[in-house]
């Protein structure tokens, strides 16, 4: 019984990791429908304070569709440091790191982002879907948004 639970946890974490990778894969191929299929219908997506938080697929769809068709010329998203917490039988939360490189259709300089995705997932009809996504940035170079949610960093203590 303990063995079966362990195995199920490993399978769930592998499936969730696949969703995080699939988001990047389809985003970089500008496949909007495939990106959107990874989210729950009531998903909440927050790319930072410069963009209104999107509530539900109805609000996310135009943003992703327009961004991939009209704004980015090429992107490359690299995921690492995937850390997944299975919070309930059909729910999970994760933090993963992303290094993202972007080229733009309007010819502005290419940009880089060193950030983190904070995801929440829900299992819907046997499939893990993104129910929440918040993007945090440690830093950027030439990025198309000025303000980002910062990755928390503790200040030095008085003695340090």
């Amino acid at each position: 019984m303990a063995h079966a639970k362990t195995l199920q946890d490993i399978l769930d974490k592998a499936a969730i990791t696949d969703v995080i990778h699939a988001y990047c894969f389809h985003f970089d191929r500008a496949e909007a429908d495939e990106v959107l299929a990874l989210f729950t219908s009531d998903t909440v997506v927050d790319y930072g304070p410069d963009v209104p938080t999107m509530n539900g697929l109805d609000e996310l769809t135009p943003m992703v569709t327009r961004g991939l068709a009209k704004f980015f010329a090429a992107t490359s998203h690299h995921i690492s440091n995937v850390s997944i917490n299975l919070t309930a039988p059909d729910a999970a939360a994760s933090v993963s790191y992303v290094y993202a490189w972007h080229r733009y259709q309007d010819g502005r300089p290419t940009s880089e982002l060193w950030g983190q995705y904070h995801h929440e997932f829900r299992r819907v009809s046997e499939e893990w879907k993104i129910s929440r996504l918040v993007l945090y940035a440690a830093g950027t170079e030439n990025f198309h948004r000025d303000k980002m949610h910062p990755v928390d960093r503790r200040a030095p203590s008085a003695g340090a």
Binding site: H78, N81, V82, S83, W114, G139
Partner: protein, 163 residues
């Protein structure tokens, strides 16, 4: 250790490696030190400022990272070898981005070589050595170069491949 158990323990060790990166980027150094054994030996390079023995000394030494305004340590290529149920060796690659006080950026491509010990069910790093494949920007920390085999004596560079 059966194969399923090995998968579970491999994941536990990978979690320690990613927790290290997250806690270093957040500068939660007291929590970070708990990922190491009490008597850990850590050397990011031969320079005494990069070397420490024991958790408390590691925490004090890593306070040097506050000289950067922000950092992001992206970990990949994790490999783990088990010697026993309680001893393992791990290697991982890190792409570390650093932002200096003046806003300039420095990047480093490194390798962590770790010795893991499992005590009361918890994997901790007992020994860490670091090597560096290369760096960019203003990164000038003396981390030793990673091993790279030299070309054979009769090797010559192909014409026209300059990048």
């Amino acid at each position: 250790m059966d194969r399923l158990e090995e998968l579970v323990q491999r994941q536990a060790i990978t979690d320690v490696l990613t927790d290290y990166c997250r806690l270093l980027d957040r500068m939660e150094l007291a929590d970070l030190a708990q990922l190491f054994t009490k008597d850990c030996e850590v050397a990011y390079g031969p320079d005494p400022r990069l070397t420490s023995t024991g958790r408390a000394a590691l925490e004090r030494s890593l306070a040097r990272m506050w000289r950067w305004k922000r950092t992001a340590h992206h970990l990949s290529n994790v490999r783990v070898w088990f010697e026993t149920d309680l001893l393992a060796t791990a290697e991982s690659a890190v792409f570390a981005w650093h932002e200096a006080a003046d806003g300039s950026h420095a990047e480093m491509f490194g390798l962590y070589h770790d010795r893991f010990v499992r005590d009361e069910g918890v994997w901790r790093i007992a020994r860490r050595r670091m090597e560096m494949a290369g760096s960019g920007g203003v990164f000038r920390v003396p981390i030793p170069p990673a091993h790279r085999a030299p070309p054979p004596k009769d090797w010559t560079a192909p014409d026209g491949l300059d990048g």
